[in-house]
Subunit: 385 residues, 2 copies
Amino acid sequence: MIENQSWGMSDRELYERLRALRTADVDAAVASVVDVAGSAYRRPGAKLVAPADGDALGAIAAGCLDGPVAKLASEARRSGEMTLETFDLTGTRGLGVGCNGVIDVFVEPLDDSIDPMLRSLENGDTATTLTVVESNDSAVPVGARTVCTDSRAETDTTRSALPDDALVELRDAAEVAREDATSTLVSVSRGAGTLRVFVDGVEPAPELLLFGAEEDTGAIASFGSEVGFRVTVASPRGGRADPEQFPGADRVRAVHPTDVDSLVETDRRTYAVLLSHNLVDDRLALSTLLEATEVPYVGVMGPRKRFEALREAAAEDGRSFARAELDRVSAPVGLDLGDGTPTGIAMSVVSEALAAANGAGGGRLSERSGPIHTRQAPGGSAEPR
Amino acid sequence: MIENQSWGMSDRELYERLRALRTADVDAAVASVVDVAGSAYRRPGAKLVAPADGDALGAIAAGCLDGPVAKLASEARRSGEMTLETFDLTGTRGLGVGCNGVIDVFVEPLDDSIDPMLRSLENGDTATTLTVVESNDSAVPVGARTVCTDSRAETDTTRSALPDDALVELRDAAEVAREDATSTLVSVSRGAGTLRVFVDGVEPAPELLLFGAEEDTGAIASFGSEVGFRVTVASPRGGRADPEQFPGADRVRAVHPTDVDSLVETDRRTYAVLLSHNLVDDRLALSTLLEATEVPYVGVMGPRKRFEALREAAAEDGRSFARAELDRVSAPVGLDLGDGTPTGIAMSVVSEALAAANGAGGGRLSERSGPIHTRQAPGGSAEPR
């Protein structure tokens, strides 16, 4: 159902839609949150895409900025003009507006300058897009852009690139942003003046690897896809491997449990759940994932007792799991939602995998101190929602 | 997407489909889990509906019982025969089958004897269905059924009712089952012999009341509906109240914040979330829900600071919240999934509301002791998944 809504979409879906708009060479504008002081609905890096025709895609705020952003977007489409607009909502608390921060939004026409970033995501690679959003250096136009991928800095677009000395100064910030998929606004002072550069790190969607293709896999694949995972259903021993049965899955593959690692493409972004309902298959898949991959999260479906039986059986095979290995295992899988229905179990599993993908703990936010919705990517900066 | 799957559906959807099958007088059989010893995928009360044509609806196990249950169902449809079958999976652990328990399943033809229960749910009332699943008393046939609603015991169907003396003996068990929406198997000894009676308590779907009709409400309504909530979107001050915009919502109503209680039909089964993004409206709605209703859960969207501002504003109005009132409030709303995207926030909110509806705490099951997926309805018995 969420698919029908242009607003409530995952980042993954947004970038896929962006790619489609570029392929069709659609006339559109892109608004990005580039900086936030205080609290806001979305973090820097959040994007809204406004095509000339049709609904806007994505969200940079929860309603309150719709009007002014739409106006800037149509100007950007018409004249190609790029604008850095500051929305100060701190004074409006009395009026009851939800967010209470200062939000900098950069609005620009959609053009080929983001293609290298989209290509990088499509290839399963990270990327950092460096964009000049403010400049008092006549030699460097607002909108100048360089996209850094792990292979190189891509500048072969209709927009001018950032000057080399600025790139040198920004190298570390760009690398951190790419590593952590975070976005920040950086000032670069040069002899000729000062640039404000939006350093926008993006990473491909996290992978949800579901080992097991029984009925209960379907709802998990659907929820996983809706929250932005790229979903693979692995069917052990060639049993049920019908893509029709898993509308939420991007891939459905038959695989032997000991070859399940062959379906892991990016270890650190893959979150696995074992639900073959076959203790032997789950045990073999678990050993394989722990030994042959660095997958940070392996959830095991079923009651605690069953996992104990799995460990005993593994021990009888002379395979006992080290503490460091067990730290990667979540058994029983899922958050405690107390719901035994198929959809309730699916939400329990997917919400834990999503928390794991974001380095969050899954408890109640109301019982947690500190800012909400912080991302704890390794070394990443935490930004409140 | 889950809607397309006959298996992964909420109890609410299952009962709606059952009602549709009865209305169309479809030839079908119903298989119910009536007792579980050890661990199993579903609890007693879980049902699978097998129409003569088309896919089975719902689930009583995760695949392993499909074959034998389908066979019993076709017999029930053909001959009207009712069977209580015991599936002992404890011996099969070596074979690796996921569940490791003894499961009693009652299979019967679908007929008018469940109509009083379906009517009760449709009217928003609870019900307990008493069904004889085993009898050595020739006067009492297997399948004899009496449905108890809060108003009366309904027996006006083609099936014979339970004998009065048995009903008297079962009155307390029936009342507990109806209160807690739990299901148990009870033995009733009579002079003439012994009956085994399945006492099946059901309650209407929990209500998710979303106060606020901005863009971010849509994904929350969709997830809420998918996990079985009956979803109401309340649009304050007549702003956006377009049902088209909220495909997941059962009702979209314009309401003044101080009248939001008029949308609460059953206090103890209503879970509210305040996300109008308007501090004044949220404050008025919160006061109204805490004062005029006994709604057990009111989630408040937004950062902690914002809720503090809401409390300060309320205090300035001479309205300070008592501890008992604050115990019903969850601010910031949601489980800690660390995800700031619209779909991630929606899952965070709905997963907490679902946990609240089931008396569960969120948090990771792997870090929790005791059985998983226990239901803690007031006074209810806890049954492991």
